[in-house]
Amino acid sequence: MALLQISEPGQSAAPHQHRLAVGIDLGTTNSLVATVRSGSPAVLADENGEPVVPSVVHYGSDASVSVGAKAAALAIVDPLNCISSVKRLMGKSLQETRELTGLVNTLSDSTDESGEMQVPRIVTAGGNVTAVEVSSRILEALKLRAEEALGGELVGAVVTVPAYFDDAQRQATKDSARMAGLHVLRLLNEPTAAAIAYGLDRQMEAEGSIVAIYDLGGGTFDVSLLRMNRGVFEVLATAGDTALGGDDIDREIVDWICSNGEIAASDPSTMRRLLEAAKSAKEQLSSAQTAAIKLNLNDEKTIELELNRTDFEQMIEPLIKRTLAPCRRVLRDAGVDKSEVTAVVMVGGSTRVPLVRQQTGEFFQRDVLTDINPDEVVAIGAAIQADILAGNKPDSDMLLLDVIPLSLGIETMGGLAEKVIQRNTTIPIARAQEFTTYKDGQTAMALHVVQGEREMVSDCRSLARFELRDIPPMVAGKARIQVVFQVDADGLLTVSAIERESGVVASIDVKPSYGLSDNEIETMLRDSMENASDDMQSRKLAEQRVEAERVIEALDAAMQQDADEFLDADEKSQLLSLRSGLQDTIDSGSAAEIKNAVEMLEKGSSEYVERRMNASVRRMMAGQSVNEIEEKLAD
């Protein structure tokens, strides 16, 4: 007998067509999977009731792969074949990976001469593996757990990523999900997921409201400011400290135990036991006023200490104060006053420490949201989103949309940025625009994808370059090249170009350097406002230059063909002097001067153009009947 869940009114699924979807918090240290059952989101635990899967993968020499707690246990005996914190390696180049500190694994030295984008590989007893592969093992384990718990195949998952993840890191996360056989419904920013978990996107007064997400995990601290804008959580600013977290609190307690118990933590096994004792004391102090620390050390020395909350808070206060600097920074970066923040969400296990809540609350001058388990809140928000995306909610529940922060466009002749998708367009979106060739017989076209609000490409950010080749030779302007910009729901951009006459195609997925920090976006926006009139002048000038070059090009081509036939020596030299006059102004002249010179050349050559046309019409009509000519013209 199947186990059924309660659906929303009118949303009952047909048998065997349950739209099972999960939210996945793919964390640096721990990962979780959650789902919505009978309308309630919950994290899925294993058979022992353990919700967390440590983000650790072990590769054995016998080709065995273990994931989670089992792999974490092996980390102590076989650290080199055990990969933890793989999230830090996602989307990183070999160079960047080499520069990462604290990586215990060995990187493969094999260098591929041809490949520009070298994918770093980690050497293990089970072969060399990429970050994407390691990550896919974790996702696979979560997927298996979910399918077991839900009794069926998943239609998809929402996977969370840090707000500061750039496009390469997002793409890598998507790739690893695909490798794990998981359909990604959407990548969701972690702070946005936390806000969704608290339903902050569905409150009546949500529009325009500003939410702070304070995320203090084991080893990292992040704070983000989000603003609800037309049903979309927009990330206003993020800041943090990549080397600050609960582990630092534990180390403070270890130091306290060492000095008060008069011992030295020399060997790793003593250190590990001290850390365990410290963690447990920290957890006790979240609810109790005192914590008893009892430790039997190897040399039969027993330590019995009592740590009270006042002393504990005194010793960790400097650490917590350090989290407030990034809080101040996000407010400043976003130009937002504390009083404008309407909710503060606590994320990460370390926010269970009462002093963290109190200090954060005091800083933002409001109560912080702590009702949802801070370890699970991100996964729960992702699960709620996945439930909606899988179609288990009535249509009236609006979908969370994202927008493009900066316009996306393409470089055209003269270094101009032609915008194809305007900023603030909601995604997913596809827009097409037609371009043409500039020169006669042009067989290739270089496409340069840029991002930004400025008119000149040099002031925008370059995203990617690719070429459309094998365009059949045609007169300039005859080729019809359709360029399609497609941004999927995760903000990943694909640009493709097709020549309509011949059907040749080329395309590129934009990965590198796509992600801009909010500061950079803001700077770029501000620049575009401040430089609006300069930009307009630049655009005019560039357009005139392109036009001038086109005219010269056409004249040269014509004169090479038949100058002697239609022009006498005087006319020829007159034309050439106009031509060189225009040529001189191209580099130095203003837009108006170039325009003037172009007009003069066009006027000066009009007689020549007329003669050529008449001649070509005569040639075409010679020896043909009127009917034939009409047919030809009709073509």
Partner: protein
């Protein structure tokens, strides 16, 4: 009582309803679909329609339309776990045979 809920089922229904924050009860029903004729409907109920029957058992309001009641009369709704999976079960005395998974049935 034509429809009953086990304690486990009632506890979970009440829990889900309170978490949902709205709804007057639970709607049970059948639809003609699925691989073996009929399929169960299990939904939150926000309102009662003209041809609905309302029962109350174990503090839970159960709403069933006239047509479905014929097929569900005497059903006990249970809540159970199978491994990591958990959910509601219909113990329906009217069922003659059901498909392998029990999601659809014949009377």
């Amino acid at each position: 009582m034509p429809i009953t809920l086990t304690d486990a089922a009632a506890t979970h229904v009440k829990d889900y309803l309170s978490k949902r924050g709205k709804g007057i009860g639970l709607r049970l029903g059948v639809r003609t679909t699925g691989c073996s004729g009929m399929a169960y409907v299990l939904e939150f109920a926000d309102d009662v329609a003209a041809n609905d029957n309302v029962f109350e058992d174990n503090d839970v309001k159960v709403i069933i339309d006239d047509k479905s009641l014929v097929y569900l009369d005497g059903t006990e709704l249970d809540f159970g776990k199978e491994g990591l999976n958990e959910g509601f079960k219909f113990n329906n005395p009217n069922v003659k045979d059901e498909c392998g998974c029990g999601e659809s049935f014949n009377v």
